[in-house]
Symmetry: none
Subunit: 191 residues, 4 copies
């Protein structure tokens, strides 16, 4: 065998896809534009990815690490506020454009429909892990369904971010958590 996959081309394609997506939007980021921007033949793209969503998904999955890790100061409420604030800040960057485009295309593109939940899974698992630790420490109700807790916490974020029903106030997540957390925390037995 010889002539294996060209790693340079792979990175150039992913980088070009992100660049275009950030500058001209997800919808007008075409395979042809990516190929041209990356200085690559279309064939090379189609050989390795089935759609533009796949390229961006691969890009996200390989570069996710540092982005929005969970802090652990021992105070679950404070840590959630820190992390969700980071997430909302991230959504306001170029990353947000890509991610929004992927979520949108997941409604019709098969690859995106599988990739989006897969990407989210990691973040959710990290969140669940942090919540589980807090639960173990008695900071959260023992009977709390942690998957559900994630949805209660992140639901409002995606609701405002995707549906754009109102301008998001700066202290949005502070208010959300202030309102929500009492329902998640263990009752303080002060009878």
């Amino acid at each position: 065998m010889s002539a294996q996959r060209n790693e340079q081309a792979r990175q150039a394609i992913i980088a070009a896809a992100f660049r275009l997506c950030a500058s001209t939007g997800f919808a007008s980021t075409t395979i042809e534009a990516i190929a041209s921007e990356a200085g690559v033949g279309k064939t090379t793209i189609y050989r390795w990815w089935p759609s533009k969503a796949a390229i961006l998904i691969e890009g996200l999955e390989s570069a996710r690490d540092s982005s929005a890790a969970f802090p652990d100061t021992g105070d679950i409420t404070a840590d959630l506020l820190t992390q969700t604030t980071n997430v909302m800040a991230l959504f306001a960057t170029d990353f947000g454009l890509v991610w929004r485009g992927l979520i949108a295309s997941a409604q019709s593109d098969q690859i995106a429909a599988e990739g989006v939940p897969r990407i989210l899974r990691t973040s959710i698992d990290q969140c669940v892990a942090r919540l589980a630790k807090a639960q173990g420490a008695g900071q959260l109700r023992a009977d709390l369904d942690l998957e559900l807790a994630v949805e209660l916490i992140y639901g409002p974020i995606y609701h405002t971010w995707l549906l754009r029903t109102r301008p998001v106030p700066p202290d949005f997540m502070h208010t959300v958590l202030t309102t929500l957390m009492p329902a998640l925390t263990a009752p303080t037995n002060e009878a």
Copy 2:
């Protein structure tokens, strides 16, 4: 002036758009297919709507009425459960396909980006009104931000429905409300 708009054509176009969207999906519903299905020239569509999203938005806005009205039995928790259950059922129908497509296209199409929040506004306002009544009746905390409450309630629905991170259990909204409502309701002074 003269030569007014043909109301028959207008309705045929909207109906055709919904039919196609339901049967072949939002992404593959083309203007040409709508025109053909409606027995109408493409020009007639482009004369009145700038994109397929606009057609579907107009259809939704003119036929919204009855779909998911708010019950009022006096019990806010029960009413929310009823209504959100109805909404989730609605999302599982053809309407859901259209709505999902519109939300997706709102991430790139200007018209959809305006229409989706406009459509939601009405539903949110109805929800807020019902919540306000409950608040007035002392069933909800007096200092509760009702817009936020809506996001806390519907956020999890859209989170699961759009992001598809896990299969939605049948009693999903029951669990959501059971967990969430204590944080929204007025504290029962039983000291």
Copy 3:
């Protein structure tokens, strides 16, 4: 009966058709443009003319008179030179653009295919009449077929004008007639 044809509209339409044809060319002179330019409804045009060619033909037929009448100085060769020179000058004006467009559309449009020969007939008949007079005066061969003579004289003009095979020299018709006329004139019996 009542409400007869609006003469003002008729003239405005013909005038607009000529104006557009002269300024933007025959091909891009559309019925819609004529209607707009004339400040007239499309219906009014279609009520009275079957195609744009018909409008221009009517315009030519009603305004032909003065354009290229035949002089009669008694010298047939000189008169032909005068007249053909006038014709070629006319072909270089806006009239030429219209006439060329009509001849072109006569290759496909039924109305033009009838109108072009009808318009030409008049000119040819005038030419034939002048030739007949010369023939009667013994200036042309007695056995000359005058229809053919017209084609021999005008053929080269249309050949160069329609087929554009070479730049037309200024003394073109002088040379044509100098070469051709000996074949048409009666032999001078100088035995």
Copy 4:
């Protein structure tokens, strides 16, 4: 470099254009119909030709050879009669439909306006060559402008064929040449 032009497609397109032009006429021969008839994408046509006229011109130029060559029996008058008769016969075939359409479109289409004279040039040059030989042999006047001679000979043909002013008699070219040739031939000095 790579990915060269598909010769099969090229020929299929030209053939389809001729077939359609012959069967439905030049005016109603559309690019879409040609593409469909040739089993080819529209893009492939637009990639290589700017208009349908260009296709037909290329077809004519690449297949011109045999069509109406000049005989050379030594008798210039007889040879001209033979050749012009052939031309008129050719004009009555499908080729005539194409050629007429091209001449018509040359009045508005830039490509046709260049192509028609270019195609004619070859035929004219052949005619001029034959005339020059006759002139060299003393059969034509020494001072005869041969370009002009061509126009005198072919002018009547195009006049009748394009302008359709009268039904063309069967012996048309015989009469034309009988009338015209004396003006072109060298005077026989029999004083």
